[in-house]
Amino acid sequence: GIQVEQSPPDLILQEGANSTLRCNFSDSVNNLQWFHQNPWGQLINLFYIPSGTKQNGRLSATTVATERYSLLYISSSQTTDSGVYFCAVGSRAGNNRKLIWGLGTSLAVNP
């Protein structure tokens, strides 16, 4: 089945720094989502982005479907950005109907 790899696994930033998180996937996808899991465990939708580029405030994301990767950009990071960032994909292959998840990038933003 489709494989999803996220990098880096862990990231520590000083407040105000910028960062790029990466998600690689091994097959064509019809869905790609970025989530932020906050320290209380809530999964928050960041982007639904099977292709193209989107921006929302300090966050933006780009998916290059033909090259099978997606990038999440965080600019001017804040302590509230801390948590785990997950990439999840839906595959076009076969009859796969469930989202496949990466292992996440754990981000800590220090004041």
Binding site: N31, F35, Q42, N45, P50, R97, K98
Partner: protein, 114 residues
């Protein structure tokens, strides 16, 4: 409702007891997923419902786990004869049309088996 709602938020149960976890999806969403997440781990797929199709139960870890979705809306995940390894956060998500459309998650049920 405005979002996916799960209840209870927290559940502590004794080993061997049965528990029921409830999920109210977003109104009009035809697809519903259950996942679980152990401490510090990623999400583990459990079961997927899509409209009137037969559910995808391929992620259920044992026959102690079952789920149903009544009337295409509310879903209940039942764990029989709970074990300590069942302790985790159980997350429910819904999407409008299935895996190709955006999924939204509830706040989860934290299950602790003592």
């Amino acid at each position: 409702g405005a979002g996916v709602s799960q209840s209870p938020s927290n559940k502590v149960t004794e080993k061997g007891k049965d528990v029921e976890l409830r999920c109210d999806p977003i109104s009009g969403h035809t697809a519903l997923y259950w996942y679980r997440q152990s401490l510090g781990q990623g999400l583990e797929f459990l079961i997927y419902f899509q409209g009137n199709s037969a559910p995808d139960k391929s992620g259920l870890p044992s026959d102690r786990f079952s789920a149903e979705r009544t009337g295409g809306s509310v879903s209940t995940l039942t764990i029989q004869r709970t074990q300590q390894e069942d302790s985790a956060v159980y997350l429910c998500a819904s999407s409008l049309l299935g895996a190709g459309t955006e999924a939204f998650f509830g706040q989860g049920t934290r299950l602790t088996v003592v």
